[in-house]
Symmetry: C2
Subunit: 378 residues, 2 copies
């Protein structure tokens, strides 16, 4: 456990299966599950200073690596504590398809079970308990991380005061369709071998393509026009001078694909986009999910997001308010599309700091949530 | 040559290489090029009644098969003549990668040269001459067909009075990026074999994926939400009850992919999307393309188009007007995205009929164009 300068970083792994296998929503179970985590600062005795950050698709527990500005500028890590877990199925240290299946002694590969955002959150709940933390002042996340933050408020209303979810709604048909195609791209790669590829190179080309497609939805057409337009590949031949020549945007997507397969695992990618597709708390709770929420919520839309359009996030905020949730909508005006949460941290910092400084939900609401939760456990 | 009821259909093929090989923009040439065409009605003696329709990516010369309502309702085929050519490289009867290369006696396959919209239009110009037609009252096309129609007005200003281009601008970086990915999908399919697959099954899976991605850009997210939403596959298992289950949009995209590879050739697809990427008349004419135009032009945008956004079409119309072109912009309000030109013909018919009934450009302009053209030929 190394402390990293002013970040006060502690890293570790925590088992969530000390008392038995981890039962998944899909009906299958995992005998051993560990979650990799990163903690910045220390919790106080009442755990009144802990914020949970949930990472997006390709992130890890190391918030300082993907959200350094936000971590440093929205939190005082001398006094506050921030914690982030790597999700089950991801390739940054938690149990995943690359882990050894104790029944076979070989990596799970294609046999790794389907996981959901709800599974992730339940595992995180257990892991937090193991770390002595029963309550967080806020759960914050962009994209898939926002789904987790909202799921926390639905499943464990007594444990959470505030939620900030950026660019997150149940995925629309367009997004589900594109995830379907990304899955097909990976599976068509001859190196995929039904997911059992850990003794080979893995489906690099398929994963690179999938990432390329995803990048087209993380950025905005407007940003692509500014950055690439119809210009020729900056490192190659112009498409109009040679049949092998190409446009700059093609070189960019190829580069993004390459740096992605160098750092990410295809099975992890498949597991996580499936969880993204499936996220739908109202279905889990027979249409009564939102009524369970006691936390104050902020949903942030990115004005040029084509994957989780700002209009959809705004409508989602309205849906929550109509169900009685204390929910506000904020819009980040940016040409950076869905990735505005990464590309424009300076637009998030103040907004986030102000929200975290607001009073928590009334004590009566919190007490009711605790009582309900105890009733469910009884 | 069969006449088909009230459509007065004549079909045939015409060679454009009677006087020598067809030189392509890429620097290579094709020794034999024939264009498949469909003609509806008969040209009058002065050819004053001929309209050229240009097909989009996956269309053919048979306008009655892809635009039946428009053909019947916007034209009086007793008095007017409509003609459409299948483009070079397409798989509906014109010379393409599937044609025999006279040098080898085998299909061109992956060695078929790169073709451009400009090549297509020049071939059509020769083919029309062979058919005795030197002038058309209008060139009309959706999408890639609109690119051709505009190219006609640039390259052969003396030959054309009016242009209607629907959902067509030089492709933006977002579209070029998605075409790049579609190309990669086809090439990753092990059955692609560098394009020399005519003795095998061909890259069906890759082509199906490419089509699926293209469909996501031809429709609109709004339409997908209405038609598919987050509903389970209408013919399969719900994604939340089974790890193999999926959403309706996935079933839809798979079906669209399947019916596409049953009817379309992957090499043709690759050739045509490359031509789409490359279309840029201003580059061809050193920034003076628009000044050459003598035709009256209408550019139509589809309000929910994400591939050729309405705002881009509107800006393109402004660019043409600023270069002195008689150009108007019309917007088709529709949730059908880019495909509104196919899905909502009733919104196009009247607009088209009215435009075709307008007076042609002033005789002085036309005479100037003819004189200029003769100057160039001299």
């Amino acid at each position: 456990m190394a402390k990293l300068g002013k970040l006060h970083l502690t890293q570790g792994s925590v088992s969530v299966t000390k008392h038995g296998p981890f039962e998944l929503e899909c009906g299958r179970s995992l005998p051993h599950v560990t979650l990799r985590y990163a903690r910045y600062g220390e919790p106080d005795e009442e755990c009144s200073n802990v914020t949970l950050i949930c990472h997006a698709l390709s992130g890890s527990a190391r918030v300082d690596q993907w959200w350094p500005e936000l971590l440093e500028k929205s939190f005082d890590l001398e006094r506050e504590c921030v914690i982030c877990f790597n999700v089950i199925g991801s390739c940054y240290g938690s149990t995943s398809a690359a882990s050894l299946n104790p029944e076979t002694g070989r990596p799970y590969g294609g046999s790794f079970p389907q996981v959901t955002v709800r599974d992730w959150v339940r595992a995180e709940r257990i892991a937090l308990s193991e770390l002595g933390i029963s309550h967080v002042r806020a759960a914050i996340g962009p994209s898939l991380g926002g789904m987790q933050a909202i799921q926390w408020a639905v499943d464990y209303p007594e444990a959470i005061d505030r939620v900030v979810a950026m660019g997150a709604t149940p995925l629309n048909a367009f997004g589900i369709g594109l995830n379907h195609l990304q899955r097909e791209m990976i599976k068509l790669d001859p190196e995929y071998r039904d997911g059992d590829y850990y003794d080979g190179s893995g489906p690099r080309a398929g994963l690179a393509q999938a990432r390329g497609l995803a990048m087209c939805t993380y950025k905005s057409p407007e940003l692509f026009d500014i950055r690439h337009g119809r210009r020729p590949d900056r490192k190659g031949t112009a498409p109009w001078t040679s049949e092998q020549g190409r446009f700059d945007i093609a070189g960019y997507l190829e580069y993004q694909g390459k740096i992605f397969w160098e750092r990410f695992d295809a099975n992890a990618y498949l597991a996580i986009i499936r969880a993204m597709d499936l996220w739908d708390p109202q279905r889990d709770w027979d249409g009564h999910a939102w009524e369970r929420i006691r936390a104050k919520i902020q949903l942030w839309g990115m004005s040029s997001d084509i994957l989780f359009p700002a209009a959809d996030v705004r409508a989602f905020a309205r849906e929550l308010r109509e169900a009685g949730v204390d929910c506000r909508y904020e819009e980040i005006v940016s040409t950076h599309g869905h990735d505005a949460f990464l590309a424009e941290p300076e637009k998030l910092e103040g907004l986030l700091r102000d929200f975290l400084a607001e009073a928590p939900p009334p004590a009566s609401l919190r007490a009711a949530a605790v009582a309900e939760s105890e009733g469910e456990l009884a």
